[in-house]
């Protein structure tokens, strides 16, 4: 209940104790920030802060413990699923999660991701797929579309040279044990009206994040990929990066629930 | 008491088992023991050599450079003969090694271990078992005789050794191996004097 100039309001959405007060280092308009907020909200709603351990991987999310007000353990590049498996096996009562980038999960850490998925270790992995290496300055990622210009594909990603982009969600879902595999298109999406963008991604993302934690609580391996943007490294304005993502990434990495062993009961 | 032993043969002859049993027998007699297997990627047919050191004192080095006792299970293992201490004992599986008498400064005992073991058919776990696999136990019996172990409790002690190592399905082989040890010891006793160790 808050009062503003004599009028009484009831709070619908408020500040989250699961967030620190530190401003993020993420660039303006970056979905990493949005996802941080979604995670904080889910942790708060589920009341699990005292059991939560974030494993911060290398990439833009390496500073996530600065923003998420929970315990955290640092992992080397790509190794977050292994560190999480170690935590979870020593302390099954804890709730472990990581925010991995596309390079972290689908390139250097592909083995760690695949083996955790194959074992079906109870853990929650959020993959931010923005088709580039954000923190190292815009190099080619495993998910970079063919033709996309990056600092290491200056004439566009060449299929013959590098092979096609890797679909991490499909790979994870190819294993038998994962309980929840979902891809969400997180950026705001352009609508026919040039003035408005659709914010459905964030709302669906909120549900997916929450469910991904609940799945772990029920003993399952949960993996949610968030198709995202990187306007700075894509060298676009924030809104143009959302338009590009909708045009190029959305068809390449289609949204959907690839696996849901416990169904979306919380939805 | 201190004895340094090399046991050599090829994979599949039970060389490692023989060395293990010998070491454990002495451990049970209150001695310090060290056993070093040769090891490698192969498990059958390769060259196998192991060291056994038994001593009433703490063992300095487990590496046997000049054995008091050399147990040779096949012809290529005669290569180790030059290492044997003058006055030492050479026990040879004469079923496979034909020209063992190459040194005159050591005591050589030739034991037809395969034939002796093969003759123990009645003690096999089932009828028709090829009991020649117990040739290593024959050599164990010979080795215990060669190291002048007090024989009075020997059968019981050896049985304890086998009970330690042969567990599960392998317990069925204990009677055969016990008889093989006795046969080996008896053969050495009949063969006559061994060099002092």
């Amino acid at each position: 209940m808050i009062e503003n100039e004599g009028t009484l309001y009831e709070t619908k959405l408020g500040p989250l104790p699961t967030l620190t007060s530190k401003p993020t280092h993420y660039c303006a308009g970056c979905e990493h920030g949005t996802l941080t907020h979604l995670i904080a909200s889910a942790l708060q709603d589920l009341g699990v802060r005292e059991r939560a351990v974030l494993v911060n991987s290398v990439g833009c999310s390496v500073l996530a413990p600065d923003y998420l007000n929970v315990d955290a353990v640092e992992a080397p590049h790509g190794r977050a699923p292994a560190v999480m498996a170690g935590i979870k096996r020593a302390r099954p009562d804890l709730l472990v999660f990581s925010i991995q980038g596309d390079g972290d999960a689908a390139s250097i850490g592909l083995l760690e991701l695949m083996y955790a998925a194959n074992r079906g270790d109870p853990m929650t992995i959020f993959l931010v797929n923005n088709a580039t290496y954000g923190m190292t300055g815009g190099q080619m990622a495993p998910t970079t579309p063919i033709g996309m210009v990056t600092t290491t594909t200056p004439r566009g990603r060449d299929l013959a040279l590098t092979g096609p982009p890797i679909d991490a969600s499909k790979l994870v879902a190819s294993f038998e044990r994962p309980a929840y595999v979902r891809r969400v298109f997180l950026p705001v999406t352009p609508t026919p009206s040039t003035e408005f963008f659709n914010a459905r991604g964030a709302l669906e993302g909120a549900l997916a994040v929450r469910h991904a934690f609940e799945v772990q609580e029920r003993g399952g391996f949960a993996f949610v990929e968030f198709v995202s943007t990187c306007s700075v490294n894509w060298k676009m304005s924030v809104l143009d990066s959302k338009r590009y993502a909708a045009r190029v990434l959305a068809p390449l990495f289609p949204e959907g629930v690839l696996r849901d062993r416990f169904l979306l009961e919380s939805a | 008491m201190k004895a340094e032993v090399i046991v050599a043969g090829h994979g599949g002859q039970g060389v490692l088992e023989l060395a293990n049993w010998l070491a454990y027998f002495h451990l049970r007699r209150g001695r310090h023991v060290a056993y070093t297997p040769s090891y490698g990627p192969e498990t059958r047919g390769g060259k196998v050599k192991c060291y056994v050191v038994v001593s009433d004192e703490t063992i300095d080095s487990p590496i046997v450079e000049a054995p008091d006792l050399l147990i040779v299970m096949n012809t290529p293992s005669m290569d180790y003969l030059p290492l044997l201490k003058p006055g030492g004992n050479l026990l040879v599986n004469s079923s496979l090694v034909k020209d063992a008498r190459r040194r005159t400064d050591v005591a050589v005992t030739e034991i037809p271990a395969v034939e002796i073991a093969a003759g123990l058919r009645e003690f096999g776990p089932t009828q028709g078992t090829d009991t020649s696999i117990a040739a290593n136990s024959v050599m164990l019996g010979a080795a215990l005789a060669a190291t002048h172990e007090a024989p009075e409790h020997l059968p019981e002690e050896v049985e304890e050794v086998f009970r330690h190592f042969l567990t599960g399905r392998k317990t069925a082989f204990i009677p055969l191996n016990l008889h093989a040890v006795e046969a080996g010891a008896a053969f050495v006793a009949r063969a006559g004097v061994l060099a002092a160790t």
């Binding site: 009028t7 709070t11 619908k12 959405l13 500040p15 907020h37 003035e195 659709n198 914010a199 809104l239 | -």
Partner: protein, 84 residues
């Protein structure tokens, strides 16, 4: 420096932490009623932070919360609706 809090006169309240805002525009384009805009002023980091601005032509704020959810800097700290 700006501090942030603006409310619709009637149905809802939106609280903004202008120091966290990076002026990315996401809440501006996500608001179904276009009740947010980037201000002409600067915050300490040099961004034009978002502010509440009721234009009166598309409808009042309904406390739908889209701005809260899309904001990557959780600068929309609170969304409240009028007590029924």
């Amino acid at each position: 420096m700006m501090t942030g809090q603006t409310a619709t006169p009637d149905r809802a309240l939106v609280r903004i932490d202008t120091e966290h805002c990076k002026g990315c525009d996401l809440c501006v384009v996500a608001c179904p009623h276009r009740n947010l805009r980037l201000s002409s002023g600067y915050n300490r980091s040099g961004y034009h932070p978002v502010e509440f601005h009721y234009r009166g032509d598309r409808g009042e704020c309904t406390a739908c919360g889209l701005c809260y959810w899309v904001c990557p800097d959780y600068a929309i700290t609170e969304v409240a609706k009028l007590r029924p």
